[in-house]
Symmetry: C2
Subunit: 451 residues, 2 copies
């Protein structure tokens, strides 16, 4: 297995449970049998988290899954064998001097989670150091440094977190690393990738966001392969910029390197949840050979730019998803609350109902920027085809081209953090700043790639 076992890992066990384990002469890594009320369960004795409900023993079952087993007065523990030793302790740090320096920032999420055996739920628990100890292969990819920035489920991220991450990445780049990896929860990984793409408009190295769809103590975890790919890309890729590295398919063969403004989580649970939308991924990473296959010919070359960090966001921007019967009052509510801009997630080529027009007109009159994206997600809005689009443009709603709704929202938060000038806001929103607006296809052609 991955690391050396140390006896102090029994430290997670306390009180009566620890007594029972000691009485049985069991050690972490032994195969033990727990019997209670005539029923028994067998598994590898695992270390456990301190400070939780003390009456549970953690066993790794033959299926590879870990379970928490409640222990009481009547439970008997006996050692029935010695298993493969679990690897939750820190391995001696392998020599990786001379390799490119890569910093992994840990922010929380599944990639930095373990199962809470009390509730059965996954909770963010691992530090960046732990990540490293889980995947010692990282040492062959780079001279890795790990730093904890925060420990949050990514649904709790706000613009403040993006600012903090952007500034930490900037400082790390100034210190001379070859690449930076940001490990976070997958739920809002796409939003963060957009945020860093705008907040770091120029970078000399790859900044790679990575997550995992299955927690690292699950047998089906994608945490290790994703981390290896992310670190390898950060250390050696020929391109610079902000990217997301995640599984291409369900197998562990290949990962994709997605551009930060064009990627979206498109499945609740699969490893290949992240898709480039209306864009070609930058590259494919082959896990076995550690080879990077370029899919895009054009990129900003590593080392060709200085680091520029503009980390300010103004979160007085909202995303409103349209649907038939949407109450236009919600638009008025955002205006009254002092919001400075709205991104509409309209239908088709960029439409909302005529019932929304008066509220949108009031929003524009009050100086809000209003941008139109499509809930189709794939393709490009075109507000010159139907009279609805033409009317909306007359009101002052701006077409956001093929920008993802989420990307347009984050971009607006960032643009509002850069300037107060409404003309300048509109100009920046309509200009491709970080790959968020793709090239137009020839007239009459079927726009966009297969999906």
């Amino acid at each position: 297995m991955l690391g050396e076992l140390r006896m102090h890992e029994l430290a997670g066990y306390k009180g009566r449970v620890l007594d029972l384990i000691k009485t049985a002469g069991a050690n972490i890594g032994d195969i033990v049998k727990l019997t209670r009320d005539g029923k028994s369960v067998e598994g590898l004795l695992m270390p456990r988290t301190v400070g939780r409900n003390e009456n549970h023993v953690v066993l790794k079952l033959g299926t590879g899954y870990n379970v928490g087993v409640r222990v009481d007065e009547s439970t008997r523990i006996e050692v029935v064998g010695t298993g493969a030793r679990p690897a939750l302790s820190k391995p001696p740090r392998p020599a990786s001097k001379g390799l490119p320096k890569v910093t992994i920032f840990s922010t929380g999420g599944t990639i930095a989670s373990r199962v809470d055996y009390r509730t059965g739920a996954v909770e963010p628990a691992l530090t960046a150091e732990d990540l490293y100890s889980f995947v010692p292969e990282l040492a062959s990819e780079a001279d890795v440094e790990t730093k904890v920035l925060c420990n949050l489920f990514s649904e709790n991220f706000t613009a403040r977190n993006w600012k903090e991450i952007a500034e930490a990445v900037r400082d790390e780049i100034r210190s001379g690393v070859s690449g930076v990896v940001v490990a976070q929860g997958t739920d809002t990984l796409g939003y963060s990738a957009s945020a860093l793409s705008f907040a770091l408009p120029s970078t000399p190295i790859p900044v790679v966001l990575v997550g995992a769809q299955r927690s690292s103590d699950r047998p089906s975890s994608d945490a290790a392969t994703n981390l290896i790919g992310a670190v390898s890309v950060a250390a050696r890729a020929p391109f610079a910029g902000v990217f997301v590295v995640m599984h291409e398919w369900m197998s562990d063969d290949t990962l994709l390197v997605h551009k930060g403004t064009k990627v979206r989580k498109c499945h609740t649970s699969r490893r290949d949840a992240f898709k480039s939308i209306s864009a070609t991924p930058m590259a494919r990473f082959h896990i076995e050979t550690r080879k990077l296959e370029m899919l895009e010919a054009h990129y900003s070359a590593r080392g060709s730019s200085e680091i520029v960090c503009k980390p300010n966001f103004d979160d007085r921007a909202a995303l409103v998803k349209f649907y038939p019967g949407l109450d236009p009052g919600v638009i008025d509510w955002y205006v009254a609350k002092g919001y400075r801009g709205l991104i509409l997630e309209g239908t088709g080529l960029g439409h909302v109902s005529a019932a929304c027009f008066p509220s949108l007109a009031r929003a524009v009159e009050r100086g809000l920027f209003v941008g139109m994206t499509s809930q189709c997600l794939w393709g490009r809005v075109d507000m010159n085809v139907y009279s609805t689009g033409i009317d909306l443009q007359k009101i002052g709603v701006h077409p956001m081209e093929d920008m993802l709704p989420e990307t347009a929202l984050i971009k607006l938060m960032w643009v509002l953090g850069q300037t107060e000038d409404t003309a300048r806001i509109a100009e920046m929103m309509r200009t491709n700043l970080a790959g968020e607006i793709g090239p137009r296809r020839p007239e009459g052609g079927e726009d966009g790639e297969a999906h």
Copy 2:
């Protein structure tokens, strides 16, 4: 071309423009050359809409596109040849007696649109009769009757329209037709398909929704093939229920028959924009052979059920798409406005930020139903994996399984239209009523199909 030409089609032309055409001796279908200020343009003289700016002549160019050309005092028109005769008049109705009866309801949208040559934009203009005259091949598929229900861009649909369509479909089924086709704009076609799936919980025949991504007077229009497929499926398919028939790929080879609660528009402009999400389409229709290839073995057989129509919706239900930093005040706003339910479009397995918890708790306390879907779109929410999901369930938020956010919203509007009992609302929302909740995959498997 498709139909016979009649001279009265010059009727769209008025005043000076009509004088110029008459002076030139030009007729609809002639190739004419318009010269003004030394510049000239050549094309097939087309009929035009009455009641618009009168100073335009409509020409079909060699490229196949129609353009409006402004005509003034100094414009000269000359006839330079005779082209293929355009087909905007009604053909003599072909004999289709003895074929299954199918009713096409027209509600507006691109499939029933032509380009407004004044603004260059597409506007709903054709009647169901016109649809039929555009696609005379329909006469070989069924004994087609066409009826106009309304003439709206589908972004302007509300629950009132779904009720009206459901009742019209019910009446038509009672009159003994073999199938019903509803032609509408693609923008909210998925929402309408959901609405009819719930409002018609039992039907003896197929009810087929269809649209077009390119208007029927464009050379690249998908209107004709989609209509042929929809009518053929309505007339002859072995299954009953509510479906969407649209292009499978960009070519005109095959269409897919999607189940009404599992389909979504996933591209702004491509013909193959409609995708079955986390579900297999019911069947594939081969345009050339008119053959229906079944993709699903299980279905409700044609003729096995009576028509049941429950057309009431309560639109006091809202969809709130979550994003990092979402202002929880918007939830309170809906509660204060007297809404009876909310569908959250959360992240990943079904999460929103902890900042939303107090507002959600207040909503539940006030008796609102709150359901959780995922903005991933593909896959299934699972609120037992992370502590966020467990906490949300404790608050009273219900997981909506693999329901699309849009489908969950429409279902909630419909359920609220059926009962006032909050326990019954929750029970109905969590029960599969119309195929909106798919079967669970085995534990540990990678849930969901490729996309």
